[in-house]
Symmetry: C2
Subunit: 332 residues, 2 copies
DNA sequence: TTGAAAGCGCTACCAA
DNA sequence: TTGGTAGCGCTTTCAA
């Protein structure tokens, strides 16, 4: 059995209330120095650990933060969770996970469960699905202490916006500056996922004729009109002299890196290639793959910062984070 | 403010005890059918959610499971966490995270904190560091409901052993069967990390002359004796006619895939290459990289299963999981 | 300088 | 078929 304040009190023949007051350094406690020391010592000796649930019950903050995250999503959500745990621990918070995937009802029930456990606040991470935007807006409207990370910006809440559109626009700019003349985009169609949508949008702002430069991929890796990757290289990339491919993510980029090489195109000499996500393998591809880093460390640091502000009842705000372009040989 | 049993009771002019008894379907409750229905309806209408902390305080299980995990570790820990969350949710459990990294004190304090929150049990995941083996053994000796996943097997606890040694031994066997004559191993030195140690050990059991077949890498990617990778290919791989390289992980394998290709060696014709971890990029390397899958789905399923048994006070046991070799072109 | 009392929301037993 | 009582461990106010 865990040690309680009462046991410490009994041990010393005093009241448990005094013990509590002393251990929490309460200003309403005027115990003598000697007695204080005695209490501290006994607590340490007995290995006293306050019962968090009892404390929460009296209305104190739980120091638990909920994390609503789509952990099945692409890698950044897991990365963020890992770093967030560290960050939260620094401020004395625990993380409780509420997973969801694909169904908005799961988000709702996960969120409710987190509240039942008395979490002080909740991070919403990587709710990337645009179909739930309105529902989320409605459901969370009156909730307190919600910090939204990489998800649809929610009115009235603290949000961190990872500006993928700007990042992709910047890639185009860099490619243009380094002399690329015919820059195209490869990625999945973006009606559903905000982060995919943003990438294509960011790419597009640079071109009046963006439509013909954007080639959508279907789930099997083919071009959306049914064309195989090989065919695409021979019938589109080569004849049209495409000299730069901006690709939605590193995994897809790695795939195309290889396809292009197999067709005799040299990277970056003939075609520059860029990816996104800064996956662990990008430094060791051949050639090293230029990519975009989300700056998860900054994101999680900021997320905790915003959570603190929220807990202090400060006014909600949206902060933009500019992902970092990591230049590597594939786009020299 | 959250709705309480008392509010429901007041609303209906009855006692809150009755409400509690009815809502929990207690056998000691003999309320009339009509009243029961009334209580259920009112609870639903008011959106009643029981306060978990109060419930825990009365001694009921918290339905919270702690996860002690090194989230900074290589990918499998994050994967396992994500899947474990799903699995736990199926059985009505929440997960609370206690991170640690590199310091055993962190494990201890994280563990204590989890206990303070009244977790029903704790998963210990990816404590890979052999230096802590003894400390862990001692510290956890008398703890209850600990399920150890992919970590040093702990006496007296439920453990899941991912048999990497067997998997690496099996790779060697497969390579031999398919005619490879001179199989070598590349990986980091294994004094500290159990999982690295296991790989080399599994490789070694097949050879009386294992020592000369194992080449340790230092942190910078060089061979431990200071030789550069390029040099190694020219001075060792080619002259010694090494025709298979078993490599500790996929990322390192990808690196060597490229090094070998740059030196004119064909894969798999001249040299077969295998990795480990089943990282997302292995299907799209050139050629596709043979690898080892930890079978995280089975691991997490089993982990929950063992946790349930532990909660039922069944006898601790250790279950082995055999990782799956995924054959791809790199080792045909 | 200290202790008694009340209360957080809930469960469970017992008496009516 | 129901309500009273007690108690989980803690915090805080108030009285001594």
């Amino acid at each position: 059995m865990a040690v309680t304040v009462k046991q410490i009190a009994d041990e010393l023949g005093i009241s448990f209330q005094l013990v509590s007051a002393v251990l929490n350094n309460k200003n309403y406690c005027r115990a003598s120095k000697a007695k204080k020391q005695l209490i501290f010592d006994t607590a340490a000796r007995l290995g006293y650990r306050p019962n968090v649930n009892a404390r929460i019950l009296t209305g104190k903050p739980s120091k638990i933060l909920g994390v609503l995250a789509d952990l099945q999503a692409a890698s950044p959500a897991s990365k963020i969770l890992a770093m967030l745990e560290r960050e939260a621990a620094e401020y004395g918070f625990r993380l409780m996970i509420g997973g969801f995937h694909d169904r908005f009802e799961d988000i709702v029930s996960s969120y409710r469960l987190l509240l039942q456990h008395g979490v002080d606040g909740v991070f919403l991470i990587a709710l990337d699905d645009l179909r739930y935007r309105q529902e989320a807006e409605d459901f969370f409207r009156n909730e307190k202490n919600l910090v939204v990370v990489r998800a649809p910006l929610l009115e009235g809440h603290f949000c961190i916006e990872v500006d993928l559109a700007a990042a992709f626009s910047r890639i185009v700019h860099i490619l243009q500056t380094s002399g690329r003349k015919n820059i195209h985009y490869l990625g999945q169609d973006s009606n559903t996922y905000q982060s995919l949508h943003d990438r294509a949008t960011g790419f597009a702002v640079n071109f009046p004729d963006a439509a013909r430069r954007i080639h959508y991929l279907d789930d099997s890796g083919k071009i959306a009109d049914g064309m195989e990757a090989d065919e695409f290289v021979e019938k589109v990339v080569k004849p049209e002299k495409i000299d730069a491919l901006v690709i939605q993510d590193d995994l897809t980029a790695l795939y195309w890196l290889n396809i292009l090489a197999q067709h005799g195109l040299r990277i970056p000499d003939d075609v520059a290639v860029t990816g996104c996500n800064n996956e662990n393998f990008t430094p060791v591809t051949v050639p090293g793959l230029a990519t975009i880093d989300f700056r998860e460390a900054e994101i999680t640091h900021l997320a905790m910062e915003l959570m603190q502000r929220s807990l202090k009842n400060m006014e909600p705000e949206t902060v933009k984070i500019m992902p970092e372009f990591i230049r590597r040989i594939s786009c020299q």
